[in-house]
């Protein structure tokens, strides 16, 4: 068992996550004092129940399931944006999440400045960003617009820039949420190729997507989440077929 531990990139161990749903939220002291009765009207919704998952280094895993099955929550937990109520999640290596592309883009700054700012959120140093700058601009195909303020970009250009930054961070683990629909056909193709390349380089990737074609195309393992538990885990084709049979 011990020698296997080194090969694991993400270890999800007995993870529970629930959210409190308030009907009438008291945010201030006055409200809390006056309406303390009302505060009890909250509901606990268990989103994930006892999830156990070991993702090996270099594995490409798809999380599939219907809306509300907990896929995105699990991905957010892996990113450490939110934390489990019970259980632990350990990740090994530098991690990048492509959950919300372009988070932290500043509309008034130019594309170039935003590359710097966005990359620094991912934890790159100035030098590392300098080294990647050309690659990022080239990948985004925004050479002519890179010094214009980002607010002048179309939504497609915006996403292209954001994706190019995130994909060039050189992380060991990539968490990707439903973004395989970036840009036009040509750019999508390019993204796919880039992901295949990264896969070959031995990066660990976790996808959340509803596009079963891309799952079959890219992933060697699929995990089917249903109502917050792992329903099925294994070879992509088998899991996807079973999933489609159930939901169609």
């Amino acid at each position: 068992m011990k020698e296997n531990e080194d090969n694991i990139a993400i270890k999800v161990d007995h993870v529970y996550k629930s959210f409190n749903i308030y009907y009438d939220r008291a945010n201030t002291l006055k409200e809390r004092a006056l309406f303390w009765m009302r505060n009890k009207r909250k509901e606990k919704r268990e989103v994930l129940k006892d999830i156990n998952l070991d993702i090996k280094k270099g594995e490409t895993v798809a999380l599939i399931g219907v809306n509300g099955s907990g896929k995105s929550t699990l991905l957010k937990l892996m990113t450490q944006i939110i934390f489990p109520n019970k259980g632990t999640i350990e990740t090994k290596g530098k991690l990048t999440s492509l959950l919300e592309l372009g988070a932290g883009f500043h509309p008034d700054f130019s594309g170039r400045e935003n590359i710097y700012f966005n990359s620094s959120i991912f934890g790159l140093t100035r030098k590392e960003i300098d080294e990647r700058l050309d690659k990022i601009i080239e990948f985004s195909e925004l050479q002519d617009f890179i010094d214009n303020p980002v607010r002048t970009y179309s939504s497609g250009m915006y996403m292209r820039l954001a994706f190019s930054v995130a994909i060039n961070v050189d992380a060991d683990i990539l968490l990707i949420d439903e973004i395989l629909s970036v840009g036009d056909q040509h750019f999508q193709e390019k993204c796919f190729n880039k992901m295949r390349e990264l896969k070959k380089e031995g990066k660990t990737m976790v996808f959340v997507t509803h596009s079963m074609d891309s799952v079959k195309n890219l992933c060697d393992r699929a995990v089917w989440l249903s109502n917050g538990v792992v329903r099925m885990d294994g070879n992509t084709d088998e899991v996807v077929d079973e999933y489609l049979k159930e939901t169609m």
């Binding site: 006055k30 944006i81 939110i82 008034d108 934890g123």
Partner: protein, 257 residues
């Protein structure tokens, strides 16, 4: 400690954040960065006229007396009120990307320090051109600033994380800072107060920092080092406690915001 390594790894983010805060503060305003000089100067003018008439009794150097205290005080209040808002104000990226959340209060306190150092030019100009002059005690300026920085870091960690769960704090801080202005010997001399009030004012940590700045810039005498070292100790403890509070509370940020 892990925290130092984390901050070091994300030093570029800290740098960009500090820059953005300094540059962004006066963005789109006609006079731009000039406001960081004009603001304290105009404030100084108002206080010198009002309190000068009330309290100074014809002392010509009274504006300098206030100036050396008012500028560090401005750093103190802006850092705290900005820290209280920084996590809420950055809720967009907190909900979407992982990065060490500690960066947020740290960059507020740091950008305030940079601004304060720039504003110190006003103090220097005042003491030089008014004839008060300079003294060697000025070399202690970085030391006093360091204590203030650590103190603000501790307060910043606490207010930035607690406000997320308890939004009233933002308003409470405004009132407390207003009261603290009068509980710090900025416009008056502590000797002018009755004894009972002196005790109270001496419990205020800012009193001793202001005294320190005033000693080196205005009175040209050795500050009360014993007091400052005690304050340094308290500030370090506060920062450690504040950091643990922050660390505990930050796990819920994305859900609370």
């Amino acid at each position: 400690m892990n925290i130092f390594k984390k901050i070091y790894n994300y030093r570029e983010l800290l740098k960009t954040n500090v820059k953005k805060e300094i540059r962004g503060r006066y963005k789109n305003s006609f006079l731009g960065i000039l406001w960081s000089f004009l603001n304290p100067l105009l404030q100084l003018l108002v206080y010198s006229v009002i309190f000068g008439a009330l309290l100074a009794g014809g002392d010509e150097t009274y504006p300098i007396y206030i100036c050396v205290a008012l500028i560090p005080w401005t750093y103190f209040t802006t850092a705290i009120s900005q820290a209280a808002f920084t996590v809420i104000g950055n809720s967009d990226i907190i909900k979407k990307v992982y990065f060490p959340r500690e960066i947020l209060p740290i960059s507020v306190v740091t950008s305030g320090a940079v601004n304060f150092v720039i504003s110190t030019i006003i103090i220097l100009a005042f003491v030089i051109f008014s004839g008060v002059g300079l003294s060697w005690y000025i070399v202690l300026y970085p030391f006093i600033l360091l204590i203030q920085y650590i103190l603000l870091l501790g307060i910043g960690f606490i207010v930035s994380s607690v406000t997320v769960y308890f939004r009233d704090l933002e308003h409470i801080i405004g009132v407390v800072l207003m009261a603290a202005f009068y509980a710090t010997p900025i416009v008056y001399n502590i000797q002018q107060l009755p004894h009972a009030l002196q005790v109270l004012v001496n419990l205020n940590p800012m009193t001793h920092l202001i005294n320190g700045y005033r000693d080196i810039f205005y009175y040209h005498q050795m500050p009360n080092m014993k007091m400052l070292l005690i304050l340094l100790g308290i500030s370090i403890v506060l920062t450690i406690v504040g950091y643990f509070i922050f660390k505990k509370l930050q796990k819920g940020f994305a859900e609370e915001l």
